[in-house]
Symmetry: C2
Amino acid sequence: MHVVWYTAMSMDGRIADAANSLEFLNTIRSGEEGGGDDFATFLASIDAVVVGATTLRWLIDGGHGWPHDDLPTWLVSHDEDLVDRVGPTRRPFQRFAGDVGELFATIEAQGYKRVWLCGGGAVAGQTLAAGRIDEVVVTIAPTALGAGPNLFDAAALPQRLFTLADVGRAGSAVRLRWLRT
Amino acid sequence: MHVVWYTAMSMDGRIADAANSLEFLNTIRSGEEGGGDDFATFLASIDAVVVGATTLRWLIDGGHGWPHDDLPTWLVSHDEDLVDRVGPTRRPFQRFAGDVGELFATIEAQGYKRVWLCGGGAVAGQTLAAGRIDEVVVTIAPTALGAGPNLFDAAALPQRLFTLADVGRAGSAVRLRWLRT
């Protein structure tokens, strides 16, 4: 099973601002390279999603609900009420609280092949610490935030090396693809 | 006057780890592109340096002293003893405490043309907030840190836009060059 952390960040590594807003993404002007198409192609390759509580709360509070309810989803959270706020979904939406290494083992045991780690930085940090990040695809927006959650947030991260698979422009932004070494 | 924030960071935007160490730079293997040459060429283009207290303390504590004492340098710090720890320098080494916008105006008034902002994230954040960052050249190492100072650290950063001037591989790393829009 292959786990991809596909997201966007500011020049200074923040995946959201200090208020957990994604407004900074508006600084990205898509070019001929077609940033949106890349995400659509990526999404079509995915068969399961893992999302953290902060990311999901931001989506719900912003009126977006859970936009990927056509994919089996696991929410990493201790907040039991959060699942109720999501409402009905087309595919199973389950909550998980505990070691994310166990979560990915469970998902793998159910036969899933490509999992999207949808956010946020804390869940990504736990997933990296558990040795389950296989690929990082990150679009770097042409602005800085100064504060907010990072691409990876973890107290004591063991050193993990990545290999740069792709680097290039994506409109006014940069897109990097790193594979676990 | 042109101010360049030339540095390296991890995949998650940290310019040092939680202990303020730069050990993560060892993950960069230089390739045919010659990462080191780029820095030497850059340094030769600079006529003044601004450095923060945390960066300087790390250099001194590591036995490096102040390696760029052939360039007039301003230390942004309230720590009066830190200049004494630097010892004798070939060119003036001065301490400045206060608004960094005033510091850059002072340096400009003295006729300097290209200033290297040598670090760290807090000084960079203040400089960006003061509207004095003209260029950011950042090498992204192929590893994540999970904690540590960011490329920009600031509580409330006004939105600044940059234009991607260059993007490419630098050995096992990526080097991005952003110009103020």
